[in-house]
Amino acid sequence: MICLPGLQLVFSTVALNPVELGVSLGLSTVVFWAVELEKLIKRRIISKARAGQKLSRPR
């Protein structure tokens, strides 16, 4: 898509230098980390809720 001349023509892309490519690929993972963080927070909330339940309901 960004290296082959034919595809460059169709998709109006140009070759990226290593730094540019690195920045693009690196920052594209931000969403991944954010979703992982969301899941982590969810897990924390759930385990806290479960622990709370256990305390409030002796049995």
């Binding site: 290296c3 998709f11 070759a15 693009s24 594209s28 969403v31 991944f32 969301e38 969810k42």
Partner: protein, 876 residues
């Protein structure tokens, strides 16, 4: 020819070139099958490959793209025109491939659901697919069977048939093979009154009969009206309906937004040609066109996975509803239990052997085969001898197994003897039967008289048995074995076998025996006693009835047996519990038996006040509808109930807002199966009528299979939600990018073709990979999803908006950085970041809860391939 009902049955058989006793020869049947074709009605509901291909080009998105392609061509933008066409073709190809696969899976499932019928061919009774029935076949009918073709009855015993499918009359019709409806009048006898005929699509509700097939396939009466019946369209599931509506509303909203963007762009001086392309691309980007199709595919492929786990889905709705099930009402016998009696306790004169405990132990088998006491040896031998079950050694398989044919109780006794290393066949050789007094329910006992002809013995226990017998009998003569209810046998006994010898039976012994029996019965165990008596040859030859020999018995002991729970059911019940699903047992059996099994498998806790959670059919019939509704969520066991009660139970549960799965196999289970949210029919023991009424058929009749299907159903719904979150967040990200860019002072950041590419990536491969994600770890540890729950529930809408926004901001940030440097590469950087961000997102969305690091990156191979292929395409 449709005057079959006017002819005598012999004449009909002759005209069809068949034979009522022998049936057709297999060769003739094969020849006729080729000549007349399969006994099937044309299915309008299935789609041909061409139709599927055509449907790919009817969606709004494709039409918009085609218009855009034509416009580009007219504007002279050849590259754009070709690229758009390529995308349309690629998209249609992918869609076609997926839907074709789903359609084929659905067809295969349908094929599996074709009922089997019993026919006489070449003088033997065979089980064949209903589709292979030909004119002239002699078909056996009994209660619950769906009539596979039109036919003239040759025999009918109390045969009653519902012809609702054909005549609309729901009341069953009595059939009679011997009438001959000769019509001299001008009017023929109407279909509904042809009592000597049965028709395809109708169902036998009672009695039995034999018919010779007159017409098959489209030539049947049902075939003639099949066009009317088949015109009903395939019904979309509730989820599909909701999503289709949502997609339409979204499309309308998007078109408005896109129009605004177009005019804003043109007003701010952008090239209108370019703006047109961008507007089209945005519209295509924002509409989740692939959604309904992906849902269909996910449901269909899910149904196929369920089939691999022995759950045959008859209606696609069921896949979706399964995930919401809150109560599973299951028959006991055969579904929760093995439908096979098994001796669990042996009690010989106070010496008790709990076989279940020993069987469960390691090395238990060896221990069971080890030496017995004389009393136990007599008990086991008596049970196996006074017995009409016969053993068949089945050595067709790799391992030699023994099958026992006959009454389940008697089979259990034979199997126990074998388990305790007293070979039933050798036993019968040692003690051949010479006379018998058969069982009757009035007498509650049976006796057999055997000659003692000891030949060879092989095992220690056999040796012991022979020694004991010799000691008691004095080596020759005859021995009578009696088997029956304990109270009867004790009443007939004059002695009891204790510590290897016969003692007179005292009152104390009688009490001990009766109380032992009561203790076992109290646990739901069925108890049979064994006694014996020496018989002199003269006695047998004497004039008295043989029944008179059943006296002065020596009581040996008793065998307790149950129909044990299927081993996998315990886990399945526990899984239900954790998943917030209530398992309920329904049985026609005795309350105590029901209670014992329910405790064994955990439907009720052993410390539970079990009796309060059990209700019998008699109590049930006294309750009003309102009372039952008030009580129903407390009850876990219904004992001594009839299939008719099931309907009341389902209705009461549904009034409480429960989503009910209900099992059944008989004709009279059908109404309850229809009423239940998920009707579950038994594949092995179930009748055609039950299967037809059901949403799902268990090919192994196993309760655990229902639970496995629920788990699969939940996983499928999860995966659909994952796909929706993924595709919506991606689309939102694309739109945010386009809308925010001008505010940052950037020109339009993406070209039309770039947007189309990003969109293809989102709706394409990663979405499909999410669809085959295995079930999540906690899938059976959360409560059932409410039926009416929104697909965006649990904060998914918010997640979609922020993930999309973040995706747009990151991509724009990267672009802005390039732009501020004055580099001409900024667009490509932004484009790459956006595509890759979506790909990464699909990876993170593989689970709603677990971290991908915990799940492992390679646990879904489809996702690994998707990731690599898309990455390669992007960077190439």
């Amino acid at each position: 020819m449709s005057d079959w009902h006017q002819k005598k049955k012999e004449e009909v058989v002759a005209r069809l070139g068949s034979d009522g006793e022998q049936g057709l020869s297999p060769e003739e049947a094969q020849r006729r099958l080729e000549a007349t074709g399969r006994n099937e009605l044309p299915e309008r509901a299935t789609r041909s490959p061409l139709e599927i291909l055509f449907s790919q080009f009817t969606s709004i998105m494709v039409i918009v793209l085609l218009i855009a392609g034509v416009v580009s061509f007219l504007l002279g933008e050849m590259v754009d025109a070709v690229a758009i066409m390529a995308i349309v073709v690629l998209n249609a190809g992918l869609g076609f491939f997926q839907e074709f696969r789903a359609e084929r899976a659905l067809q295969a499932l349908k094929q599996m659901a074709v009922p089997r019928v019993r026919v006489r061919r070449g003088g033997t009774v065979q089980d064949i697919s209903a589709a292979e029935v030909v004119p002239g076949d002699v078909v056996l009918l009994d209660a619950g069977v769906k009539v596979p073709a039109d036919g003239r009855l040759l025999e009918a015993v109390n045969l009653r048939v519902t012809e609702a499918a054909l005549t609309g009359e729901s009341e069953p019709v009595d059939k009679d093979a011997d009438v001959c409806l000769n019509t001299n009048t001008a009017d023929d006898v109407p279909l509904s009154e042809r009592r000597n005929m049965v028709y395809m699509g109708t169902a036998v509700v009672a009695g039995r009969g034999v018919m010779v097939v007159t017409e098959t396939g489209v030539r049947t009466e049902l075939g003639k009206i099949a066009d009317l019946l088949q015109s009903a369209k395939r019904e979309p599931t509730p989820l599909q309906k909701r999503l289709e509506r949502m997609a339409r509303e979204l499309a309308a909203a998007v078109l408005v937004i896109v129009a605004i963007v177009f005019f804003l762009g043109v007003l701010s001086g952008e090239n209108y040609r370019q703006m047109f392309m961008i507007a089209v691309a945005m519209a295509v980007a924002a509409v989740p066109e692939g959604l309904p199709a992906v849902v269909t595919i996910a449901l269909t492929l899910g149904a196929r996975r369920m089939f691999l786990r022995n759950a045959l889905i008859r209606r696609l709705n069921a896949v979706e509803t399964l995930g919401s099930v809150t109560v599973i009402c299951s028959d006991k016998t055969g579904t929760l239990t093995q439908n096979q009696m098994m001796v669990t306790v042996l009690d010989a004169a106070g010496e008790e052997l709990d076989l279940q405990v020993i069987r469960a132990k390691k090395g238990g088998r060896e221990q069971l085969a080890a030496e017995l006491s004389p009393g136990l040896a007599l008990l086991v031998a008596g049970g196996a001898l006074c017995n009409d079950a016969c053993c068949v050694v089945d050595d067709t398989g790799a391992e030699k197994t023994m099958r026992v044919m006959g009454d389940p109780t008697e089979s259990a006794l034979v199997l126990t003897a074998r388990e305790l290393s007293i070979d039933p066949d050798r036993l019968r050789g040692m003690l051949p039967r010479v006379a018998e007094v058969p069982f009757s329910s009035e007498r509650k006992r049976m006796s057999t008289i055997h000659k003692i002809a000891v030949s060879e013995v092989k095992t220690k226990n056999e040796e012991l048995l022979v020694a004991t017998l010799k000691k008691v009998t004095g080596a020759d003569g005859l021995v009578l074995w009696a088997k029956g209810a304990i109270d009867v046998l004790v009443g007939l006994s004059g002695g009891v076998f204790v510590d290897g010898r016969v003692e007179p039976i005292s009152e104390e012994w009688r009490q001990r025996i009766i109380s032992a029996q009561e203790r076992l019965s109290g646990k739901g165990i069925r108890v049979l006693g064994i006694g014996f008596r020496l018989v002199k040859a003269e006695e047998l030859a004497g004039s008295g009835t043989k029944e008179a020999l059943e006296k002065d018995l020596v009581f040996v002991g008793m065998s307790g047996m149950i129909d044990p729970a299927r081993p996998e059911v315990k886990d399945a019940v526990r899984m239900c519990r954790e998943a917030g699903i209530k398992p309920v047992m329904i049985t026609g059996d005795h309350p105590l038996t029901a209670l014992f099994i329910a405790q064994d498998i955990g439907i009720i806790g052993s410390d539970d006040a079990g009796k309060e959670r059990l209700i019998t059919g008699r109590e049930l019939s006294r309750l009003s509808v309102a009372e039952l509704t008030g009580l129903v969520d407390r009850i876990a066991i219904y004992a001594r109930v009839t299939p008719e009660d099931k309907l009341a139970i389902v209705s009461a549960l549904q009034k409480r807002g429960e989503v009910v799965a209900m099992t059944g196999d008989g004709v009279n289970d059908a109404p309850a199966l229809k009423r239940a949210d998920i009707g579950v029919a038994m594949g092995v023991t179930g009748t055609d009528v039950a299967k037809e009424a059901a949403d799902m058929v268990l090919l192994d009749d196993n309760f655990a299979t229902i639970v496995a299907a629920v788990r699969e159903g939940r996983a499928i719904y999860d995966n659909i939600r994952k796909f929706i979150r993924y595709t919506f967040a991606s689309n939102v990200g694309e739109i945010w990018t386009m809308i925010i860019a001008p505010f940052l002072g950037l020109p339009f950041p993406l070209t039309a073709l770039q947007i189309l590419w990003v969109n293809l990536v989102t709706d394409g491969l990663p979405g499909l990979a999410l669809g085959v994600e295995p079930p999540e770890r906690d899938v059976m540890r959360r409560p059932p999803r409410r039926l009416k729950e929104s697909i965006f529930a649990h904060g998914m809408a918010i997640s979609i908006i922020w993930t999309g926004l973040l995706m747009a901001l990151v991509s724009l940030g990267v672009g802005l950085w390039g732009w501020s440097k004055g580099s001409h590469t900024w667009r490509t950087m932004l484009f790459t970041t956006l595509t890759m961000a979506q790909l990464w997102q699909s990876l993170a969305l593989r689970s709603f809860r677990d971290s991908v690091f915990k799940m492992g990156f390679f646990t879904n191979p489809a996702m690994v391939w998707t990731f690599l292929i898309t990455l390669l395409l992007q960077l190439l």
